[in-house]
């Protein structure tokens, strides 16, 4: 059997390998090295073994941040997935409404993360923001700088505004791939609106919904920029997610050892999620 399809292909891959080595492998090695040592600067290192990992795993701070992350992702998914489906179902299937809707839907996705954060940070401010002022004028006591609940609501509304479009676009792609004959057959079979959704639209959207679910879960689990810009992790620690905690630890307190241990744990969790995502995607591909 012919061993290699085309040997030259390997040379093409070489630059990528070098790039990955510098951008990923070497920093990762360094982080691992840091995670098992203690340092007080001056390039002096002391062997600490697995102490930092134990510290992180036994600290409430880590578990609290992880819990916040999970709750945030759960809320995001619980809102964005059903909302995305509902919007996609109600989008026009033909005519000039289609491109208009698609462009409107795509707009939030085109705005950079930190800009989204800044927009909402200003939007929600009680002194000059449109939203903050309006709510205050309606007599609602809203202040995301002081009230943890308001901070959460702001972050969730912002994420929903920013990312529901992605779910909508994915679902829409699934819906338009359903041949007309299915709807006609369902009419003839006397199916109700719910039955059409349950037995025709949902099965056809299953694959894209899975993509949407996993994408949104991973993205929201790794969220950093928006809470950093809007709340900076506060008030208190109420919006301190793992990513924000990590930065506080490493930059704010210069605890490089624990920060390294935390980033490895965080990295492993995300690696696991990515692997699940990749596996689910490729196997559902194979099943058609």
């Amino acid at each position: 059997m012919e061993k290699t399809w085309n040997n030259k292909a390997w040379f093409m891959v070489l630059p990528v390998l070098v790039l990955v080595a510098f951008s990923a492998v070497i920093p990762l090695m360094t982080v691992v090295n840091y995670s098992v040592q203690d340092t007080f600067g001056n390039n002096e290192f002391f062997w600490a073994g697995t102490d930092w990992f134990m510290d992180v795993l036994e600290s409430d701070r880590f578990w609290d941040a992880l819990t916040r992350n999970l709750i945030f992702s759960a809320i995001i998914l619980a809102i964005e997935i059903p909302l995305g489906i509902v919007i996609a179902l109600n989008m026009p299937k033909k005519g000039i409404g289609v491109p208009i809707c698609l462009v409107l839907m795509a707009l939030p996705l085109l705005i950079p993360w930190n800009v989204v954060g800044t927009i909402w940070q200003v939007f929600g401010r009680v002194d000059i923001g449109l939203l903050g002022r309006t709510l205050a004028a309606l007599g609602i006591n809203y202040n995301y700088v002081q009230n943890p609940l308001d901070a959460w609501v702001t972050l969730i509304v912002m994420d929903v505004w920013h990312w529901t479009s992605l779910v909508v676009l994915l679902c829409y792609a699934g819906l338009v791939s359903i041949p007309d004959a299915y709807y006609q057959a369902a009419k003839i079979d006397g199916a109700s609106r719910w039955s059409v959704f349950r037995y025709i639209q949902l099965p056809k959207m299953k694959r894209v919904l899975l993509i949407a679910f996993l994408l949104r879960f991973m993205d929201s689990f790794m969220i950093y920029t928006e809470p950093f810009v809007v709340t900076g992790g506060g008030p208190g620690n109420s919006t301190t997610f793992l990513s924000i905690d990590l930065v506080k630890m490493a930059i704010g307190q210069f605890d490089l050892g624990p920060a390294a241990a935390l980033s490895i744990i965080y990295f492993l969790i995300i690696l696991l999620l990515s692997w699940i995502f990749y596996t689910v995607m490729t196997t559902s591909d194979a099943q058609g």
Binding site: M1, K3, I26, M29, T30, V32, N33, Y34, V36, Q37, T39, N43, F45, W47, G49, T50, D51, F53, M54, L57, E58, I265, L268, L271, L272, W275, T279, T282, T283, A286
Partner: protein
């Protein structure tokens, strides 16, 4: 070149050396019997031996973390458990 900023220690160097050796080993294995021996195991999707190595390593990492968090610092037992887990993965996944 100066790698002192990377703060190498003997254990971490050995750790990465072990990983590198595994990858080289996989490469040799692939050369001797190409194709990666794909099959469908208990997870009900197709895996090659590369996938199985990845699942073993990732799983082992979580086994070690769980041991640290729940039991204590003596990781030799966690390592033994990981080896058993890896063998199981290579057999059944």
């Amino acid at each position: 070149m100066d790698f002192s900023w990377m703060a190498w220690t003997l254990p971490t160097a050995l750790f990465f050396l072990a990983i590198a050796l595994m990858l080289v080993g996989m490469g040799v294995w692939e050369y001797v019997s190409p194709g990666g021996n794909p099959r469908v195991g208990v997870l009900r999707f197709e895996t090659t031996r590369g996938d199985r190595l990845f699942v073993s390593l990732l799983g082992s990492a979580f086994i070690h973390l769980a041991w640290l968090g729940l039991v204590g610092a003596n990781l030799w037992w966690a390592l033994a458990l990981s080896v058993i887990y890896a063998i199981a993965v290579f057999r059944y996944v």
